[in-house]
Symmetry: C2
Subunit: 217 residues, 2 copies
Amino acid sequence: MRLAELSERSGVTTATIKYYLREGLLPPGRRITATQAEYGEDHLRRLRFVRALIQIGKVPVAAAREVLAAVEDESLTHHQRLGAATFALPHGPAPDENDPAVATARREVDSLMAEVGWRRDIEDYGPAPAYWTLVTAVAALTRLGYPSSARHLEPYARLAAQQAVHDMDLLEAYDTPLEQAGAAVALTVLLEPVLLSLRRLAEVEESRRREAVNHSA
Amino acid sequence: MRLAELSERSGVTTATIKYYLREGLLPPGRRITATQAEYGEDHLRRLRFVRALIQIGKVPVAAAREVLAAVEDESLTHHQRLGAATFALPHGPAPDENDPAVATARREVDSLMAEVGWRRDIEDYGPAPAYWTLVTAVAALTRLGYPSSARHLEPYARLAAQQAVHDMDLLEAYDTPLEQAGAAVALTVLLEPVLLSLRRLAEVEESRRREAVNHSA
């Protein structure tokens, strides 16, 4: 296909495709005239992946190049390739180690992860980026005097485990490691506002339900 | 208590407390000298609520004044008071009605809500703000070609209903409607990064679990 069709089918503008070609995020097409090149299905798949990473995931171009190399590295396991893609996503602020609420939060998060059976450290890597985001978020609850103990958070962790099962089921509908890694990035990010607004709607419903129960009691 | 103690116990600086007093978000203290006033437990409770709304919830001062009036209005039900507080929270962008993906997303969201038994319209109000945020978020999935049908979203809605049960259980530990409404605002906001990072950690764990199953298969 020509550049225009590649743009149409990927939803990425031709200017952006040219930028990705210059940055080496896409291999050059097969040149057919001095000014035109031909692109194949492989370009389309790779372009969709780069779009997921950069446009949806907001991963910087330099990091995207490393992620692409990892996702296409056949010596890595599928699990490692998904990790390479999703760990590149921007994450929240790192915790301030001098804050006493952070020390408390780390103890609670570690005890929560032990309780639900999640490993904290990833081989050769240490904790996932989300571990530090979680510690920061739990420290904010602690500092402001809201419930933040492992016991309070455990029901949410168990529900998150069920969300993750659905997340991974959605990924299995994609064929190649590249497509799965792209979908992992896109769905991790795009489902976040969906999940948060579902929770807010569910809170309205649960509040109404409890009101009705109290009225009839 | 004096202003300094009110500041210490609420975690709100004295400058901010003076600002809330000038804005009428806190009633004046009992004047004891020309320059000093005495504040009570009621001031502290109200200050904690205002802090939750403005500092945690990022609700503008004018809106906070209306929310306070609603939360202290004894003619309203408990459910209505919680709604007055949480609906004032800033919400995501409204959907663009001219976007065909938005029309598709509305159909899917309406069918999802019907499936899980949530009412879309709130008496005299229409849909909750989170309904529009959800439509916008689902439209983004639709537009980019990711799974966004009611069938795909239903498992997440059922998990959100369980999150809401825990959310409301946490609120019931607070005594007064004012404290519950403040906790509703604070926990809605402060638990969001907790829930999102728990999901990302759970995804790592689920990916590892599937890898282990595949290896042993």
